[in-house]
Symmetry: C2
Subunit: 138 residues, 2 copies
């Protein structure tokens, strides 16, 4: 398990992302947010995902032989995200060569995003593809 990242989410960024991609009233309008389950303006869940991605890029993906991702499982938006400081935890669950391409490895990992109070706001398990140093003998 590794922990890293320091990403400041501002109210302006929350509004800008939501206006472009997720303009539900409780993401873009203070009174609607106050009347919602959250009580105040939370970030779009997709914004939280994008922020997690940016922290993973800065922490290790840009230095890696990443080839992208085929998908993920079990994404949970655990708590609303308000403006503040985010960080992440990364746990590698499994790694194996890709069945169809021995020069590509598949990594299954768990991402966890925390807010400034170290409360978990997002968890997900996903897959990443990476170029392997040497092709597996199959």
């Amino acid at each position: 398990m590794r922990e890293f990242g320091a990403y400041r989410v501002t109210r302006e960024a929350v509004l800008a992302f939501a206006r472009e991609f997720d303009p539900q009233p409780f993401h873009v309008d203070d009174p609607a947010a106050e009347a919602s389950l959250n009580g105040r303006l939370p970030a779009s869940g997709w914004h939280t995902c994008a922020i997690a991605m940016r922290m993973m890029c800065d922490a290790y993906l840009l230095e890696s032989a990443s080839l992208g991702s085929p998908g993920l499982e079990k994404l949970s938006w655990k708590k609303p995200v308000y403006p503040g400081d985010m960080h992440v935890r990364l746990e590698v669950l499994e790694s194996r060569p890709m069945a169809s391409r021995s020069d590509v490895g598949i990594l299954r990992s768990r991402w966890e995003v925390m807010n400034q109070d170290d409360e978990t706001v997002l968890t997900m398990e996903g897959y990443g593809m990476f170029r392997r140093r040497t092709a597996a003998a199959i």
Copy 2:
């Protein structure tokens, strides 16, 4: 099953999103993209998710009693997304009152995003919470 949406993804938008949230070389640099599994510059998978969200908002969520989402399962980035025209399909798989709050309903649905050639580029199954017209008698 409903089908709707018309969202034009531009190269400029692909680059802007990737530079902010997913600056892996194959998302922001043409030569790196050409050398990658994709062959040319694809949108970040999170950008595709955000675009799907926007199409769902415009098609029905903004008119609904949506309360947000607790999460999703089985998200697959099936094909790279290049600049072009996207649309979506929505299939409702299940609806039930929330166990802990009878005034809130849970909808399980499947989202599918297609490109201009009607190729599926993204699928996911997720959950949405909605205010119910009348609380369930439990």
